[in-house]
Symmetry: C2
Subunit: 244 residues, 2 copies
């Protein structure tokens, strides 16, 4: 049919959703902040209903929490949540890796190498501080997804993706302090090698460590930003992202 392209076919709510998600992950909207409709309406230039739509979806993603009839809140960060999130991610990611290695075909292997190559090339182009770039964050996310894309479980992949994005916010919080993630490059290559070699146990262990080390890094360098009880601390506006 005539339906050739529709890249611009985006609803306003979808646009606001994306922008808010980005602002929350980058901590431009600080954890624990109360989200007042009037303020947001001016900031994003949309109406109440459209905001509500976006807020509802962000609640589903765990980036915003709803407080009964008392409005919305940027989801607080905490040491407890980070650790819990990490444990769940490890569980899910290990299973994804296992299934993908069982079920993946040649096409899957090729896609992994392509995703790695794209990420690797962009790193070279951007130089030392590649991890500060939003574009790199996208390719990094795509690389990790490609590793498990063949797992054959839409439900597991959906859960994995939501957890990945929640974790992204924590990574971003630490990357602005200690930009020394060089070891991660090597890890990505090792993981890819072991996955394509269908070495399930080693691949799982590598991914496990990859995730947990990042968490330890965040705790070491950014945990002073976490709320102890619940309310958020003041954050500097920034948009760097940590590697994983």
């Amino acid at each position: 049919m005539g339906n050739t392209l529709k890249p611009a076919g985006e609803t306003r709510a979808g646009d606001v959703l994306a922008r808010m998600r980005s602002d929350i992950i980058s901590c431009a909207l600080k954890p624990g902040t109360k989200l007042r409709f009037e303020t947001l309406r001016e900031l994003y230039e949309v109406s109440f209903s459209t905001l509500r739509e976006a807020l509802s979806r962000l609640v589903a993603e765990g980036l915003v929490v709803a407080e009964g009839q008392r409005g919305f809140l940027v989801a607080p960060v905490s040491l407890f949540d980070l650790n819990d999130l990490t444990d769940v991610r490890v569980l899910v990611e290990r299973q994804c890796i296992k299934l993908a290695i069982e079920r993946g075909d040649d096409r899957w292997e090729a896609d992994i190498m392509a995703a790695f190559h794209r990420m690797d090339r962009l790193q070279s182009r951007l130089g030392a501080s590649y991890y500060l770039s939003d574009e790199w964050a996208t390719l990094h996310s795509a690389f990790h997804l490609s590793l498990v894309a063949a797992c054959g479980s839409p439900n597991l992949l959906e859960i994995r993706q939501k957890l990945f994005e929640r974790a992204h916010r924590y990574r971003r919080m630490s990357s602005q302090f200690r930009p020394q993630w060089r070891a991660k490059d090597v890890e990505h290559k090792m993981i890819m090698d072991r996955v394509i070699a269908r070495d399930t146990a080693t691949a799982q262990d590598l991914v496990d460590r990859h995730i947990r080390e990042t968490t330890e890094n965040v705790i070491a360098h950014a945990s002073h930003l976490f709320a102890q009880g619940g309310a958020g601390d003041p954050f500097k506006r920034s948009d760097p992202v940590a590697a994983e």
Copy 2:
């Protein structure tokens, strides 16, 4: 403070959400059905915005799917989805059981026994077809939750609960055909015993089998109702629920 009770403190959106969820699970709204706003507005007696709010949340729960700017759809059922859902549930539930047994205290054990007792008493009161009751479904859900409540992972519990509700719809589809779930009663007791005895491996295996057998039952008796490609088949309106 004076805040003694607020059981009636429910927003209209929350009310509509609950009613729609119930209607979807009971297949009063058939899988694959297109959800037209005008129709729903009359059915639930609310406005567009309120509907949109509820729909958004149901999308998050996986009971409704959004089709870009072409509206909403009751999430279709399929053999593939049921099997996938079952596998993910087993993964999550096994981990929940393991953690709960590691971390649970006396209070946790007591809560399990209390939940079982309440479910058991209601079964006696309702007689042979207890599983047709919504009230029993609630207690059944609470019992399974109590088993893993002490796992200490809010993220895992949240995922578990969403998967449980999605599976609920499938259970309901089969229970209207073959009301012979008597073996499940015994299973519940066995699971409780092994969990409280802190016998992790056996408890995990029992829960695993508990879930998978229910799925097999659904496939055996209700898979003819599943859409092959995606669109839903006609369903009879009903509100029975299968045991698990």
